[in-house]
């Protein structure tokens, strides 16, 4: 399952970011070169505590309701899943020590022995069953119901064995168990907390290297090291992590610079330059699965003609956006997923496919002709914009310019940040809007996570796009057990999507993380949403 990048909560966040005179970082200045870091210098030292920033307060840390960066960033260190999503984006056994797929519709998980919950109780198959079943329970209202859509039943088939039966073959189901959908919580804790499970009063009780300690609403969440943790490789180095909620971008960057906060993921792009020159710490970039896209949310208007969508993409100065919006730290996207999501697919299928992708180089003149052939001259399109951050503003302006260049009449509708989220969930909120932007990442190493959301009738198919060939290819891919066959079918779906452009891919940018001078050891990667990254952070040697 994928989701939009939610951003700062305060309506004025963008205004602060744009008006504050924060050193030398101006949008438009570009960082000369950037490189990805696999692992920051080792942080071998013992550490009492470090402080980490979140761009918003989680509304809950119930894994079933954790569908956004802030809760997952915290929860990744507290709760574990049946499988584990590693920093190199591969998947390996987690709380399931092994699994098999005896028939296309059965997945059998052997539960790891010797694992304890934070309250000391041992992990059993009952806990796994109770945890997974919550995703099927309408009363829970899990945000992860989608990966479970093909699940018929979840049963205990032995003291340490759980079997999931599917209605139809679906290999992505197993992959999702490396993310929040595969989280295992103590059945006793779920029962005891009831409706209050995961809220500031009750917290959670899982098996991760850190245990929930306290949550002061509006201010911070504190985790403490779990000394009985099962995996020696990921035993936490720090005794405590304190997450502080800092919705305002400038406040966040200031807190890095004043040393009040030791680090944070998702550094505001317009402070890249300022922070890479900082003496208080270092800025790193890592593997990502995020693509900045312009979603076409209305196919009844002028954008209903694929030629117009193609023309619009050709007229968007994507190189310019990368330069002005993220200081050059990124590259123009050639599809709706990054190359990282293909990492688990056979190379011989993927390489030719990536070479033969349809390209849409910047060519306003040709774009104008193409749009003219569709006869949409002078028609109105509404672009939703939001004062979230400088890159959002720059994208909106670039798309507006492109629309003008191909003869459309663009109109920008500015929407406050919290309301912007509604575009992704509420059809009524999308009414009258032709285009809006998103930063869409995949939670598993599989392009199907993205392309599945463009299937006919899918929840996040915001423009109600429908293409029978695309749906057929997708169906084939989801059902295929053989990785090569699956990659080939997915590639066909991607080819159709890139030809028809239900969404317009803009650019890919790396995951960013700032580390203050006291700490080190983290592996920068988008897997921080599901992997206990904080356990690897220690005092700098």
């Amino acid at each position: 399952m994928t989701r939009p990048r939610r951003a700062a909560l305060a309506a004025l966040a963008g205004v602060f970011a744009l008006t504050s005179c924060s050193g030398s970082a101006k949008p438009g200045d570009s960082v000369a070169a950037y490189q990805l870091t696999d692992r920051t210098p080792p942080g071998p030292g013992a550490l009492d505590s470090f402080t980490w920033s979140l761009f918003a307060e989680p509304v809950s840390i119930d894994y079933a309701l954790s569908f956004d960066y802030p809760p997952n960033t915290v929860l990744a260190n507290v709760c574990e899943s049946l499988l584990r999503w590693n920093p190199d984006l591969t998947t390996s056994p987690g709380l399931a020590s092994s699994y098999t797929n005896p028939t296309p519709t059965t997945w059998v998980y052997t539960i790891r022995s010797g694992v304890h919950f934070h309250d000391g109780a041992p992990l059993t198959a009952e806990d796994v069953v109770a945890s997974l079943r919550r995703n099927l329970d309408p009363a829970v209202g899990s945000d992860w119901a989608y990966p479970f859509r093909n699940v018929k039943s979840v049963d205990r088939t032995g003291p340490m064995q759980v079997t999931v039966t599917l209605n139809t073959p679906d290999a992505t189901f197993n992959e999702y168990l490396a993310a929040a959908p595969g989280t295992v919580e103590s059945a006793a804790a779920l029962k005891a907390a009831g409706k209050d499970y995961g809220n500031p009063g009750k917290g959670v009780d899982c098996t991760g290297p850190f245990a929930f300690d306290s949550w002061t609403p509006g201010q911070s969440i504190v985790l403490k090291r779990f000394d009985d943790y099962w995996d020696p490789a990921l035993r936490a180095k720090a005794k405590q992590v304190k997450f502080v909620f800092l919705p305002d971008e400038t406040a966040r960057v200031n807190a890095f610079e004043s040393g009040e906060v030791d680090g944070g993921w998702m550094v505001p792009a317009d402070s890249y330059q300022r922070l890479s020159a900082s003496t208080k710490g270092k800025l790193y970039y890592g593997r990502n699965t995020t693509v900045a896209d312009e979603v076409v949310s209305n196919l009844q208007g002028p954008l209903g003609d694929p030629r117009v969508r193609q023309a619009l993409l050709m007229a968007i100065d994507r190189k310019g956006i990368v330069k002005a919006g993220v200081g050059g730290v990124g590259e123009v996207a050639d599809s709706l997923v990054t190359r990282n999501t293909w990492a688990d697919s056979p190379k011989e299928t993927v390489d030719p496919l990536l070479k033969s992708l349809v390209q849409y180089p910047y060519d306003p003149a040709k774009a104008r002709q193409l749009a003219a052939s569709a006869g949409v001259d002078g028609q109105k399109v509404v672009i939703a914009g939001s004062p979230l951050d400088s890159q959002t503003t720059i994208i909106t302006q670039a798309v507006q310019q492109a629309a003008t260049a191909i003869g459309l009449k663009p109109e920008i509708q500015t929407i406050p940040p919290d309301k912007y989220t509604a575009l992704f969930t509420d059809p009524a909120a999308r009414k009258g809007i032709d285009l809006f932007e998103t930063f869409w990442y995949t939670s598993i190493t599989d392009p199907l996570d993205m392309y599945g959301s463009l299937q006919t009738g899918a929840f996040s198919n915001y423009g109600n796009w429908s293409n029978p060939q695309f749906d057929a290819a997708l169906g084939q891919a989801v059902g295929a057990a053989d990785p090569a066959a699956r990659a080939a079918a997915t590639a066909e779906a991607q080819r159709i999507a890139m030809d028809q452009l239900p969404w317009l891919p803009l650019y890919n940018d790396p995951v960013s993380v700032f580390l203050g001078n006291r700490i080190s050891g983290v592996r920068p990667s988008i897997d921080y949403l599901y992997y206990p990254w904080a356990a690897e952070i220690g005092a700098k040697g």
């Binding site: 995961g198 400038t250 899918a458």
Partner: protein
Amino acid sequence: MSIAVALLRRLIGTALTLLVTSFLVFSSLYLAPGDPVSFLVRGRSPNPAELAAIRSQFGFDQPFLLRYWHWLEAVLHGDFGRSYLFHQSVAAVIGARLPASLLLVAVATALIAVVGIGAGALGALRRGSRTDGAVLLLVTVGAAVPSFAAAIVLRSVFGVRLGWFPTIGNGTGLGDRLHHVLLPAVALSVTFMALVTRVTRSSMIDQLGREHVEVALSRGTPKLAVLRRHVLRNALGPIVTVSGLLVSGMLVSTAIVETAFGMSGIGSLLVQCVDQLDFQVVQALVLLVVAAFVLVNTAVDLLYPLIDPRVGRGEAR
């Protein structure tokens, strides 16, 4: 009219105001575009049965007036419902954030009273002098500085560059809390301080020019006594009125300052809950703010007889 009757009338008036407000708030939220259910089903495609279950769970399927009645009844019992956004009781959500906002408003109020009235009085007494000029200049500048701009400047100068104050968080313990709240309070009160200074200055100048003051002074009554008995007491009316309005208005204007300083209070909570249609929390917050507004202004009215005995005796004021 006795004071008891007046008080009773005020109380009934207050209750009625709150009742009307509660209805307006309740109905306006339901008229707002967007469907709260859409936030509850984030990211998934619920089937109609699931949707119906969610609707009935939150009471969205009941007729409007019935919903209002149930809500009002619960509120009268002190139950503001459950926030669907925070998965907690509304009382817990607001209770966790209210103290920070109250401290912020309290410190800002103290600043307004001390600095505002002090500077105003100083300007009035030294009218035309260089000090008065400085006061006037500061008033003009202060009134023109929006709190978000003040927040940015204060934060970057005194927080980041000089490192005298923390730039984020609420702090723990009274001393630390005050240390955290001072910059935000200055940012919040800058405009209001300027306003109160201006009102104080002109109101005192007005009193200083009155005949009875001049007479008193010419008769050799000590200047300080005249100032206290005649000038300040008579000038206080407008000052208190303006201050009362400002203080109660401040409760809602804390959002910007709270955000800028990474503080968590009811201002930023209100913005968040309005945008995400968390009706239960918004209703409770608006009622709270209206109640604060009405109560502060009632308090101001009750203060009048103490400031000016003629009001208490029912004479014209």
